[in-house]
Amino acid sequence: MRRVSTYDVKKFTQNLKEYLDIDFTQYAQSILRRRLEVFINKWNIADLENLFLKVQDNTSLLEKLIEHLSVETTEMFRDPGFWRTLNKKVIPELAKFNKINILVPYITYDDELYTLLVILKENNLLEKTEILATSPFDTNIVKSRSGLYTQKKLSQANDNYKRYKQNENADISGYFTIINNDVQFSTELINFVKFEKTDLTNDFLNSDEFNLILFRNRMIYFNLNLQNKILEILFYHLAKSGYLTIGFKENLSNFIFLDKLQQIDNQEKIFIKRK
């Protein structure tokens, strides 16, 4: 078993940033260290120095690495109670607008995005909603846009969907096409999404404002510094009375503008930007 040290990781991520303009330098260290350790053992690479040499001229390996470091959010309708609350408390407010702008930043392989599409569809809101999904990496955009799914994930999604609907007979497979063993999330729904390659910290220059920002279980992969930096940017782009959602076990306690946000539910981490 090949092991990787924090020092190795720092050197590696510095090199990636300096030579390939790929920035993982401010990601949560313990998780990053483990994922890199798993990666070099899986692909039989001696150490991170070797990995860096290889990814410089092996695009396929680099893509695999980025995919591996972009952790998924596990399943559609993760935390069914959260989605029920969103559907009950947030969606009706959004429905009042003529146009709804939603941002889903830092997508990986995106169950959160697909969940949002299903909820908007079921509320007949897709036509007047603009959804922007972003990632610093093409790999994640291509993957999310493809809608490629698995039987196992579909089964998990269905289990959660039944809990969301509070109905044993609910079935999410209507949103998928299944041909033999290939499972595909609705292309029709995915087409409502605009995907953009952007690193929010560097080049998100428009003055776009969003009514809802879906940002659950993304901050856990950033260190505190990067987390706060991104939150500031997101906060700036949140419309007045816009909603920001974060993961069940994430918090904004270190966020300087916390007092300008109000949690709208005592269970779920859904915040509204005060007027």
């Binding site: 901050m219 856990i220 076990k249």
Partner: protein, 188 residues
């Protein structure tokens, strides 16, 4: 920075053992204790409450980036992996299940082992799969103390047995009484 980090991993059949351990440690047990228990994904509340009935120490489910303090028991939240960071904080993750589990004992043990090395005391209890075995190996590699619950006492011996295959020379193979005595003996 604590002088020791006590990590307890358990699955099927370990709940009563954990209750007994927590009930027999003083309320000012000085080292932070981390519990990684396999648990139902959708059940958010109730676990902390159930443990708190018998535990003299305060049991909490940490949030991401929570700082680590002594005299506390940190229970890995449902559907997240729990890491210990070198910076003496907790990191949560939504990575793939390991040994079909999230939270995975392997992940918590291994991250603690790397971060705190010889300060780690890792205890693996009853369970039905082999989660924790590879993690214990990391604890041993980095110089921590490896304790496996005696398979003869464990309700479901599969997990301790898998661990003993992986870590042929653990520091101790203990029953519950011995685990309690050991922890009380290092309370300084």
């Amino acid at each position: 920075m604590a002088s020791k980090y006590i990590i307890i991993g358990g699955s099927a059949g370990s709940f009563q053992t954990v209750l007994q351990i927590l009930n027999n440690l003083p309320k000012d047990f000085i080292h932070p204790i981390f519990l990684c228990m396999h648990r139902l994904k959708h059940v958010r509340g109730g676990f902390v409450e159930a443990l708190s009935i018998k535990s003299k120490l305060k049991v909490i489910e940490p949030e991401d980036k929570s700082p680590i303090f002594g005299k506390k028991v940190y229970l890995a939240p449902a559907n997240y992996h729990m890491y210990l960071e070198v910076s003496n904080t907790i990191a949560l993750s939504t990575e793939e299940a390991v040994n079909h589990s999230r939270p995975s004992i392997d992940i918590t043990f291994a991250s603690a082992a790397y971060a705190f090395q010889e300060k780690v005391v890792a205890i693996l209890l009853s369970g039905a799969n082999k989660d924790g075995a590879a993690g214990l190996k990391e604890v041993q590699y980095y110089g921590g103390t490896v304790i496996v619950q005696d398979p003869k006492e464990a309700s479901v011996p599969v997990m301790p047995e898998a661990a003993l295959k992986e870590v042929q020379k653990p520091d101790f193979i203990f029953n519950t009484e011995q685990i309690i005595d050991y922890l009380n003996s290092i309370n300084y």
